[in-house]
Symmetry: C2
DNA sequence: CGTGTGATATGGATCGATCTAAATCCTGGG
DNA sequence: CCCAGGATTTAGATCGATCCATATCACACG
């Protein structure tokens, strides 16, 4: 290879691409193994004059093998840079060491942190995470499920896409692989025979806590702001809100229910709707933090000071909630913890495939900050 | 089972746990398969009186089989709810259909979106993503690498943990599996023989663009705010800043370089340091968006109006950047696109294992908004 | 000296698919 | 009626590990 060809540099649009040739001695002597094949248990056996069975025993730390042979084999394992082929072992043992994690929206920080928790816990238990992101499309969900199931995961953790249907999911999953549903229910009505574990958030209780908090602070005209009626989590949160209002003997005016997409931009846009009717609310329970932060912006634009002239709460306790001006009163759902919990649940299910299905509604915790006016700092 | 035992409800702390017994007919008739084992290719063969080889050919859509037998086999496949065992096939074919994706911090929205892009692209290509999150710990990185490599991924996409070391990583990965490095370089000095692909962000150019933008707007006293000197990306961005200043013939005062942790809280705290010396800067290039948003808060607290009394830029273009008051001028890095690109690169590498290593520095794009004063709206 | 015993080691079948080479079937030409 | 040759099908080995039943060995005991 000529020195002149050492580097090829391309300027493309903005970025750069370097092409660096491979050094001549592509693969130097790899101990003793043939250049390309991975070394297998048989290579080790041959390499130190014992049978494959013995090597296998050593790999699994069996007490049956003599200390000396064990040492000899272990030395050879290191010498040949052996890596265990778990797929082969799993095939023979009819086991699996992976769990599929299928999320409707990995790019959402809430699910990202959930995934992080799942992976953490699974890793500790010696399992590996098979990831699948469906981008909120039930067609992709089908495809992803079918693809992942072929890799034979021991279990599946699924946060369904919106509009995901029971029968389709069950058809793809089959009856063999345990399923844990997270965050959302499946649409359609389930066949009687079907059963799976569920891990949900206590949306209803969360919204009730927030509403009660505002009531305690003296508010009587409280709105429910944001979210769409057809989202199940929004329905649940709204139910918690109405429940608290009813218990406190407060009537809800129709114009106190303002819908908007669960993001900041739309929240800003819809803010005026809150004040269209009379009496105007003095506080709002928001569908989630994004919406609450948007509403705060909208209030500022109307010359109102959130936490002072108007109290509001969020839901999720995203990172920015603590840092807003003012900081946001909200409900912490601890997504990483939920991830660890989901992993634990599916692992338990593997140990007891026949035990009763569990339906867990996970606690949420009210985090009081200045936006609700409780800690108002002028 | 008695009706009285139908449900067990536990109230625990905040949440609830339902235990729902499994219906009596746990597994109804599963077509014809024995209750518990998965159906295999042999079952299908036996079920419709052909050989295993023929079924295998049908599965892979070979044109060699007669239309009639093909139809017969396909019918039986459906009847028995057959699912392909890709692990077994991979073992025989000595192939792999998975790619390992190892991230230093999955909970970070930037990486979450990157992962989302990777998974999307890999899915399209028929690959499955093996996830591993290292939580910024090089020990965990080692463990995760070793665990994932045992599952025989066809390739590895690695965004290294801070302080991750070349030799350790190479020892875990081995020479067989192609490696693509994303976002960061590995520490330590690499052995000559080693080579792998790299996909990095054009940190330097990004910071230069931001700085040039501020200079064009008339600023002469420009600070570089945030980040730590020992982070490689921070060093690169700082280099871009100094380069632009030098080219424009502007001297940098020492007190214009203020370090802080790459988050909002610390940025607020360090804000006053910017104005400790004279002459005070009239603008700042910030290490990233979080820092820039923090600095905006700090400026407000000093009674200054960002984008009006003081110009500033961020880096990353996180979701909140567009929604701040004022919206933040920043550099878009398109993490999802980078993810798709990373997936593409590793897939290409699988097709050409011996082609030259690529070093790609991905473009970043200046997104001008009001915070830099270019679009000042009073 | 034969043999029972505990400690080790191993051959060969096996998991569920694929591959290779060879067997079978079918059809038309000689 | 036989056979070449294309169209189909298949038996059996194989991937890299594990499991089972059996083999081997050293030693002690009657």
């Amino acid at each position: 290879m000529h020195a002149a060809l050492q580097y090829a540099i391309t300027r493309s649009n903005f970025g750069y691409i370097w092409i660096v040739p491979i050094p001549d001695s592509t693969m130097a002597m790899e101990s003793t193994a043939p250049v390309h094949r991975k070394t297998t248990l048989s290579d080790i056996a041959a390499g130190c004059g014992v049978s494959r069975a013995t090597v296998s025993l050593v790999l699994r730390g069996s007490p049956l093998v003599n200390k000396l042979t064990q040492a000899k084999v272990e030395k050879e394992l290191r010498r040949q840079d052996y890596v265990y082929n778990r797929a082969a072992a799993n095939l023979r043992r009819r086991t699996s060491s992976s769990i599929a994690l299928i999320l409707n929206d990995l790019a959402n920080p809430f699910f990202a942190e959930f995934a992080s928790g799942v992976d953490e816990k699974l890793g500790e238990a010696g399992y590996v995470t098979l990831l699948g992101s469906t981008g909120e499309s039930s067609e992709r969900e089908q495809a992803v499920l079918r693809s992942l199931i072929e890799h034979g995961p021991a279990g599946i953790i699924l946060s369904p896409a919106e509009g995901s249907d029971v029968t389709h999911v069950l058809a793809a999953v089959g009856a063999q692989t345990p399923l844990l549903l997270f965050n959302r229910e499946l649409g359609g009505n389930a066949p009687k025979s079907a059963h799976w574990d569920r891990l949900m958030l206590d949306n209803r209780r969360g919204a009730r806590l927030a509403t009660e908090h505002l009531i305690t602070l003296g508010h009587r005209h409280i709105a429910f702001f944001g979210g769409h009626r057809d989202s199940s989590s929004c329905r649940e949160r709204f139910a918690g809100y109405t429940e608290a209002m009813r218990v406190a003997g407060l009537r809800i005016k129709p114009h106190w229910r303002v819908e908007c997409a669960p993001n900041r931009v739309d929240a800003v846009v819809q803010c005026p709707a809150l004040f269209a009717g009379s009496p105007a609310p003095t506080a709002a329970v928001c569908y989630n933090d994004a919406v609450a932060l948007g509403l705060m912006l909208g209030l500022c634009q109307r010359g109102m000071q959130p936490g002072h002239d108007f109290a509001l709460t969020g839901f999720d306790n995203i990172a920015e909630a603590a840092l807003g001006m003012p900081p946001l009163t909200t409900l912490a759902v601890a997504p990483r913890e939920r991830g660890r919990q989901a992993a634990e649940l599916i692992l338990q299910r593997l140990h007891e495939p026949l035990s009763a299905a569990r339906y867990i509604i996970s606690p949420v915790q009210l985090v009081v900050r200045a936006s609700s006016g409780a800690l108002a700092t002028t």
